[in-house]
């Protein structure tokens, strides 16, 4: 059922303003070329979900004014330091922030995957994470005595957006051990994927691939985007462009610098951007 699109611009066009959009962390296959296209098309009011956390794409989308709200266990650039546009947005209270914790995001997506309204989860009690989540509840364990636990509402994103190594002509997408991408696809209304390459072989015909493949049943649209995770890396294929990422962090320290980054690396058409690292 997956549709093949010509470009990441076409992928970005499938993400309406106001969408609840789920994205993976920096190490798990980020559709950075599609994120640039989303910024170019001037997306607005996105509700960004980190699964379970989000990195550079979050900082960029926030800096570019595409994001109204964030739900995540962390917004982190890892070793590259604090996320400058995120930090600035928090300080000026421009973001509606729903701080979460990793397993709560996985559990919420699993609830959507199972079509159940909520998922119970241990831990979390007594934290300020819970205190600030009006949408989370605490109930008595129906199988326990004097035992309460947190219940998390299902998280059903409008869109999941990520990058993977390989798709086949039927629209099946190989994600290997990055199983959180499969959970995202199961839980989401729409799943949009950019891929390095499209194979003529059926990924489902060989168990070695099938075991790490999201069936096309869950994939809405695919666009080929070689090096589509750049400047992040894609495990097994290419490393992050550390020099570029450091340059981003340096420029994005100020609003002006960030604008300069956008002009240089985003606002040109994707074909005008050198992704060769």
């Amino acid at each position: 059922m997956a549709e093949f699109l010509k470009s990441v611009e076409d992928l970005a066009a499938r993400i309406p303003d106001g969408s609840r959009i789920a994205v993976p962390p920096d190490y798990s296959g980020c559709a950075m070329a599609a994120v640039r296209a989303l910024i170019r098309r001037g997306a607005r009011d996105l509700d960004l979900l980190g699964v379970p956390q989000v990195g550079f794409q979050g900082d960029m989308l926030i800096g570019a004014g595409c994001v109204a709200a964030v739900e995540t266990a962390a917004l982190t650039l890892g070793e590259y330091g604090a996320a400058p546009r995120f930090t600035a947005a928090i300080k000026s209270a421009r973001l509606r922030m729903r701080d979460s914790t990793c397993p709560a995001i996985h559990a919420g997506l699993q609830a959507a995957e199972k079509g159940i309204p909520f998922m119970p989860l241990r831990g979390i009690l007594g934290s300020d994470v819970l205190a600030h989540r009006n949408d989370w509840k605490t109930i008595d364990n129906p199988f326990g005595d004097d035992d309460s636990l947190v219940v998390l509402p299902a998280i059903r994103p409008d869109v999941s957006l990520f990058h993977a190594a390989l798709a086949d002509r039927a629209g099946n997408v190989w994600i290997g051990v990055r199983r959180e991408l499969m959970l995202m696809a199961h839980a989401s209304r729409q799943t949009l994927v950019s891929v390095e390459a499209i194979s003529d072989d059926d990924l489902l015909a060989d168990d070695r691939y099938a075991s790490g493949t999201i069936p096309s049943l869950y994939i809405s649209a695919i666009a080929q985007a070689p090096r589509g995770a750049w400047p992040l890396g894609l495990k097994g294929h290419y490393a992050p462009d550390a020099g570029h990422l450091r340059e981003y962090v340096a420029l994005a320290a100020t609003e002006d610098g960030f604008r300069k980054y956008l002009d240089t690396f985003v606002n040109a058409s994707e074909s005008g951007i050198d992704v060769s690292a």
Binding site: P52, A73, A74, T76, G81, I90, K91, A104, G126, R179
Partner: protein, 266 residues
């Protein structure tokens, strides 16, 4: 001769020696090296799951597996940091000031709000032992150090290892107790850098120096192993060159960059 990092690695490793499975989160080179050292000393009976590692990470069920695994009781120790840590072992990975509009905003709570409850031996770790990190009361509780009776909590804080000393945490008494002071520190220097009160014996022993065998492992096998995930760390400490596959992210953690709020889990 040894470096502070080596002292910390060996100190932490000693806390892991009797365990079966230790997991280490992201951006945690010292806990990671400690896990790998304990593994080397255990002749392989200790399993170490190192987030970001290809060779020391057996998870195959996606991002949720670490958390599920902990809830199944299959993880014996984990590490957490904190931009702020208080005397009841509450940790703050979110921000300083009123939430949500923070004076200083950190990445977020990661899995701390959960793993702190479920992993029996959570070791808190901080390379900035100062009054701004060791506070009387955290501004935001990412995860509480203790929970009331009736809360399901097989896990919790076990120790706090800093650049100055080692504390044990007493869950019933809800407070830290100073165990050892690193060379050059004493109860006075530690108290003046700690915003919370803690117990201390009359005589505070010095943190034992690393043995030769441990230093040899660190500067050899363990250094090479940790270099897979933290090449710049291994290079800086031991001049060990990365043995990386091309595609492995050139991850590195300069403690200088915001080390005090390194979240130590995924």
């Amino acid at each position: 001769m040894y470096r502070l990092e080596e002292l910390l690695i060996v100190t932490i490793a000693t806390m892991l020696d009797d365990l079966g499975h230790v997991a280490v989160g992201a951006a945690s080179p010292i806990p990671g090296a400690a896990g790998l050292l304990a593994r080397a000393r255990s002749q392989g009976s200790l399993r170490v799951s190192l987030l970001g590692s290809r060779r020391h990470n057996a998870f195959t069920d996606g991002g949720k597996e670490l958390f599920d695994c902990a809830a199944q009781g299959r993880i014996d120790a984990f590490f957490l940091g904190g931009a702020q840590i208080d005397g009841e072992a509450n940790i703050n990975l979110v921000g300083v000031g009123d939430y949500p509009k923070a004076k200083a905003r950190f990445p977020g709570s990661f899995g701390s709000s959960y793993l702190y409850f479920l992993v029996p031996r959570v070791i808190l770790f901080s390379l900035e032992h100062s009054p701004r990190v060791m506070v009387p009361r955290v501004d935001f509780i990412s995860a509480p150090g203790v929970s009331p009776d009736g809360v399901y909590r097989p896990g919790g804080p076990y120790a706090l290892v800093t650049n100055r000393c080692v504390f044990a945490f007493h869950r019933k008494k809800r407070c830290f107790r100073l165990l050892t002071a690193h060379p050059g520190e004493d109860p006075g220097s530690i108290r003046s850098n700690t915003g919370f009160d803690f117990d201390a014996p009359e005589q505070v022993p010095e943190t034992p120096a690393p043995g030769e065998a441990d230093l040899e492992l660190l500067r050899g096998r363990v250094g090479r192993e940790i270099a897979e995930v933290y090449p710049m760390f291994a290079s800086r400490l031991w001049n060990i060159k990365e043995e990386n596959e091309a595609e492995t992210p050139s991850a590195s953690t300069e403690e200088s960059i915001g080390a005090r709020f390194h979240s130590l889990q995924d």
